[in-house]
């Protein structure tokens, strides 16, 4: 149930399909809903259909069938109204190498019809906010990849959109810039109530940033929920342990095996998915102690979105690009 106000700042998608001429059904019947002020993470491997979905929701590509309302407006029938309420930073930061950062801001604000005085102040404010004030008068051709992405974000925010689309905003960024961008996006949602639709290939990103995550594969939404819900659905955390004496490795594997299924191993350590969940950790330690096995290292891994992806598609997200055969073998045992 969505109220009118929620809907007017949110996104509603119903059986959305896009089929390319002589191409694949890139998006094959997607339903989803994003509430106002929510950060929705759209997660999937290369070629899953993330960008195609974003293009349709931003009115840049007409859907083959299905419907979508963005900010309360229909993306097919009410393109101009949709565009007025959204901002987007697409996968390829489309910037003009011959223009400076400030000139880009000026252009973008002008395109959106902002008044002259506001154009200048809004531009400066945003350049400041994404940390480009010092480089504002340099040509974009000389910007680094991270600077370009930040400028692209600033441009997307020029007309104070209520809804923001970010297509793989942190691909190619270093950890510092990535964290800074996460903080900015989180702030936009929390303080300004901006709805964010963000695609990513990074689990950490969806996990850290999104209120809710949709996992897309081959044009289908295969799972949806909060990161915690999705992980809970898969359930079991993994414990990873390494013996102090290399000779104890065999025995350790045997002890751990009592608590659940093996889940791969590192060069020295052993990993097991705990059948009984986190609370079994104490029992594991006691059992190892009882056998007299000295522990070098012990770690509990919460279930990750990768586990979710694996559970839903039978493939690991890392390297699950479309070129891979659907029955790609997985090095870890599939959970029940």
């Amino acid at each position: 149930m969505t109220t009118e106000t929620q809907r007017s700042g949110g996104i509603e998608v119903e059986s959305l399909v896009r089929e390319f001429k002589n191409g694949p059904r890139a998006v094959d019947g997607i339903d989803l809903e994003v509430a106002r002020g929510e950060i929705y993470g759209f997660l999937g491997p290369n070629g899953a259909g993330k960008s195609t979905t974003v293009l349709m929701l931003t009115t840049l590509l007409p859907p083959t069938s299905g419907s979508a309302r963005v900010g309360g407006f229909d993306v097919v029938e009410q393109g101009p109204q949709v565009r007025a309420s959204i901002g987007a930073a697409l996968q390829e930061a489309a910037l003009d190498p011959l223009l400076t950062g400030r000139e880009h801001m000026r252009l973008q604000t002008a395109l959106h019809g902002l008044g002259k005085a506001e154009r200048e102040s809004r531009g400066n404010e945003l350049l400041e906010r994404v940390g480009l004030a010092h480089a504002a008068d340099r040509k974009v051709g000389g910007y680094s990849g991270g600077m370009k992405r930040r400028l692209d974000l600033a441009l997307a925010l020029a007309h104070r959109p209520r809804i923001l689309f970010l297509d793989e905003p942190t691909t190619g960024l270093d950890i510092q810039s990535r964290t800074a961008l996460w903080e900015e996006v989180a702030r936009l949602a929390a303080e300004d109530g901006v709805t964010v639709f963000l695609t990513t290939q990074y689990l950490e990103e969806a996990d850290a940033l999104a209120n809710r995550v949709g996992i897309i594969d081959h044009g289908h939404l295969v799972a949806e929920g909060t990161p915690a819900e999705l992980k809970a659905e898969i359930g079991r955390p993994t414990v990873e342990a390494a013996p102090r004496e290399e000779g104890d490795r065999e025995r350790m594997t045997a002890v751990l095996g009592r608590f659940g299924q093996g889940a791969g191993s590192s060069p020295r350590g052993v990993a097991v998915r705990l059948d009984g969940g986190e609370s079994q950790l104490a029992e594991v330690v006691r059992a190892l102690d009882a056998e007299g096995i000295a522990i070098e290292h012990l770690q509990l891994h919460a279930p990750s979105l990768d586990d979710v992806f694996l559970a839903k598609t039978g493939r690991s997200l890392e390297g699950a690009a479309e070129e891979e055969p659907a029955d790609a073998e997985t090095e870890t045992a599939a959970p029940a």
């Binding site: 109204q81 987007a88 395109l111 019809g113």
Partner: protein, 261 residues
């Protein structure tokens, strides 16, 4: 609503035109060729072919320089439009076009913006070209009004060529479309009475030139500069028709770009 729409189109057109003009003026790689090429055509045709003015039967009253000035003026008008089409294709290839498509509440403003830039470009070229022609001692027999009519004709040619090139650019969306914009324009311009009046042409070229609409544009333009207007109404009708026709073609291109994402 309609007033709001007009405002939206205007804002977008202004933004798009601003960037194109800015890039044109600040980048010598764009500015120099579009200034120099028409000048070379003019110098080479008017200077190198001056003797053609003495061919028996060549009876243009204002001299060969003025005769060729009209051709080069209309040619640079057309090529100003084609070069703008190049810029447009480049933008849609690099993804910058998407930025416009996304920001523009009314997308016809995008084409309008490029068209304004093309016109600006043509005006810069014409200023330089006209100055060179006057310095070179070109005879102008036409009245003030007739000269204005000559430039107005050039504006129509510029608009028509821009719309033609925009239609191609928006459909191909790659600089690979360049020859497709350029070659037909070149063809139609040169299959007209470029060097001598239509009467002095013979054979196949006379046949083609007689039905080529550019011939009427050229003859009208030459009529204006020599103060002896001919085919004026027909030329304006042709210019207007071509502009509207190609505007529809560009509009179709915009639809195609929208459908392709």
């Amino acid at each position: 609503m309609s007033e709001q729409r007009t405002a939206g189109v205007r804002a977008v057109a202004r933004g798009v035109a601003w960037r194109s003009i800015h890039n044109f003026l600040t980048n010598p790689a764009f500015l120099v060729p579009s200034l120099l090429f028409p000048l070379f055509f003019f110098v080479s045709f008017a200077g190198g072919l001056a003797a053609i003015g003495e061919v028996p039967g060549f009876d243009f009253p204002s001299g060969y320089t003025a005769f060729q000035f009209v051709f080069v003026l209309l040619q640079s008008a057309a090529f100003g439009g084609v070069f703008t089409g190049f810029a447009m294709a480049r933008d849609f290839e690099s993804g910058f076009g998407r930025r416009y498509m996304l920001a523009a509440s009314h997308r016809s403003g995008i084409v309008l913006g490029y068209a304004l830039a093309a016109l600006f470009r043509a005006f810069v070229t014409w200023t330089v070209l006209s100055a060179v022609a006057v310095v070179a001692g070109m005879e102008i027999a036409g009245s003030g009004g007739e000269i204005v009519a000559l430039y107005a004709l050039a504006v129509l040619v510029n608009v028509a060529a821009t719309m033609w090139a925009a239609g191609v650019a928006l459909r191909v969306r790659s600089i690979q479309g360049g020859p497709l914009m350029q070659f037909p324009t070149f063809l139609v311009l040169f299959l007209a009475p470029v060097y001598v009046p239509l009467d002095l042409l013979s054979g196949w070229i006379h046949t083609i030139a007689s039905i080529n609409p550019v011939t009427a544009l050229l003859e009208a333009g030459r009529g204006f500069i020599s103060g002896d207007p001919v085919l004026a109404a027909a030329a304006f009708a042709i210019g207007l028709t071509l502009s509207l026709l190609f505007a529809a073609w560009a509009r179709g291109g915009l639809r195609s770009a929208e459908a392709a994402g």
